[in-house]
């Protein structure tokens, strides 16, 4: 992590506070993320991990505001105008949400929604947008018939891959994925995580993946941020944190996740858990 180039995303001492009461919800979060790297944010629900992403995207709920420094490339996200933030959300950073069903308009085919987004964000003509959309779908191994489908005709995993295809087509330099696999079945989870991995390796995009499932985060993340009740309790290299958690909360997260896997390992007769 000792890159000398300027990081793609930099957060310094970010606090997210309730505007009315001044009550802090997220305290003092700092990290830097370089191109082609992946940051995992783990913690239980209510720990503030989603708010960090929304602050970065400039999408905090109106009752909250962020303090500190949030920089995306050259832009100071806390001082950017709403128009600038929206422009960046389209082209610079893409977001993938937990509920793929609500991310698309049920009234239009996916092809319509893809080409419309691409034409608006990248100022393309219809034919180019269509070609680009097809290219994006091929990258996530989806058939082109998806273009003519309505959202309800696809499974959650396929829709999630469509979201990834869209961020690929938009050439997002940063992808923020908030609980991208929580709503998915086990088999779909694996497929979606594979796509994320390729997104990072082949397209040199940076990735922020937020999840309460350490297994999903472990598959992707280089570095890790552990959030507990609005505080960052541990940060560092992902493998180090997973293998030798220091903070009792991280130990608790790792321990409970390991316990969940234990039956599976035992049943398969493997013995990964070194004594």
């Amino acid at each position: 992590m000792s890159c000398t180039e300027t990081p793609l995303v930099r957060m310094e001492h970010v606090r997210i506070v309730h505007t009315d009461s001044g009550r802090p919800i997220v305290n003092d979060v700092s990290f830097a993320l370089h191109r082609g790297h992946c940051l995992g944010i783990v913690g239980e629900s209510g720990s503030g991990k989603t708010l960090i992403c929304r602050a970065l995207l400039g999408l905090l709920p109106p009752a909250l505001h962020a303090e500190g420094v949030i920089r995306f490339e050259e832009t100071d996200m806390l001082r950017a105008s709403p128009e600038e933030a929206r422009r960046l959300r389209g082209t610079g950073m893409g977001s993938i949400l937990q509920q793929p069903m609500t991310a698309f308009d049920p009234l239009y085919t996916l092809g319509d929604q893809f080409t419309e987004t691409l034409r608006e964000k990248l100022q393309l003509n219809a034919a180019d947008a269509d070609a680009l959309a097809r290219f994006g779908l091929s990258q996530v191994k989806l058939p082109e018939t998806v273009m003519k489908s309505y959202p309800h005709q696809l499974s959650g995993g396929m829709l999630q891959r469509c979201m990834i295809a869209l961020t690929l087509a938009l050439r997002s330099r940063l992808v923020v994925a908030d609980e991208p696999t929580t709503a998915l079945d086990a088999a779909n989870q694996y497929e979606v995580l594979q796509r994320f991995r390729r997104l990072r390796e082949e397209h040199d995009a940076a990735l922020i993946v937020v999840s309460h499932d350490l297994g999903a985060v472990q598959m992707l993340a280089d570095s890790l941020l552990v959030m507990c009740r609005g505080h960052c309790v541990e940060a560092g290299d992902a493998e180090t944190v997973f293998n030798a958690p220091q903070h009792p909360y991280t130990q608790y997260l790792v321990g409970t996740r390991l316990a969940l896997t234990r039956g599976f390992r035992r049943a398969l007769g493997e013995n990964h858990v070194s004594a």
Partner: protein, 272 residues
């Protein structure tokens, strides 16, 4: 195989269920099979898992077993009696915990009344209702001060514990867990699974899930459901010996977490 058990508790025989398929203008065009000739049985006191992807028909199967929906053909027999008859004869001996804990409780009821509803279903004999509710809350490790709270004041994990307490309250012999832990945080899933194991006693569980790791952790045996058909029945102790290609596929696509961490984590007062 298990169809020929000497004394099966639950027998499901040749279950078929179709749903009408509609075209875009809303006309029924065809009947789509959701369950195709599903047969299995569960022994008394067994934890039977039902593993399948979304759309594989596992929720429909659970509704048929609980008697909430009538199958098109086939039987669901508890101790040799049809489910509706058995449920009527033994009130409260059948119970269920759903995935979506938010719609599982009436938002206007206090926690005490939610649990008491289950208690009264079982006849409510023995202790006073107040004592029984307090004992049940202790059994699922809920602080007793929550008895007078409303559902929206509780976290997801706590609310699911309330649902488990309510399911236990009627002293059932059979509980269906329909993705009962899937919506919870992973750290809380482990706690709830431990809880389910601890309270089991001589009850029979049907544990429905999409996560093979959870099935392997809790169940004695699990069934693989794929597109409405039973693909395989797997004994957890001999999972590696199973020859089912679908099981292999599932195992290979499982995201397994690994860590060299060996210490026992201190019990963390959950933030949720």
């Amino acid at each position: 195989m298990s169809l020929h058990d000497a004394d099966p508790f639950l027998v499901v025989r040749h279950l078929w269920k179709h749903y009408p398929e509609r075209n875009r203008s809303g006309w029924r065009t065809a009947m789509r099979p959701i369950l195709k000739d599903v047969s299995f049985s569960a022994r008394r006191g067994e934890i039977l898992g039902l593993l399948g992807e979304s759309g594989s028909g596992k929720s429909t199967l659970s509704r048929c077993i609980l008697g909430l929906e009538a199958p098109d053909s086939g039987d669901v027999l508890f101790e040799g009696q049809t489910v509706r008859y058995w449920r009527m004869r033994h009130r409260g001996s059948c119970s269920v915990v759903f995935q979506d804990y938010v719609t599982s409780v009436n938002p206007g009821f206090h926690i005490r009344d939610i649990i008491a509803e289950g208690y009264r279903a079982g006849g409510g004999e023995g202790r006073s209702e107040r004592e029984a509710v307090a004992a049940l809350m202790e059994r699922v490790q809920l602080p007793s001060r929550l008895a007078e709270s409303l559902p929206h004041q509780l976290s997801g994990g706590q609310l699911q514990r309330v649902c488990i307490a309510r399911a236990l309250a009627s002293n059932p012999s059979f509980i269906v867990f329909d993705e009962a832990v899937s919506a919870l945080d992973v750290s809380i899933q482990t706690q709830v699974l431990d809880l389910l194991r601890n309270i089991k006693g001589d009850m029979t569980y049907l544990f429905i899930t999409h996560d093979i790791q959870m099935a392997a952790l809790l169940c004695d045996r699990f069934l693989l459901l794929r597109n409405g058909e039973l693909a395989a029945a797997v004994d957890c102790a001999a999972m590696s010996a199973s020859s089912s290609p679908y099981l292999r596929e599932l195992v290979n696509s499982t995201v397994v977490f690994s860590s060299e961490f060996t210490g026992t984590p201190t019990a963390w007062e959950s933030s949720a």
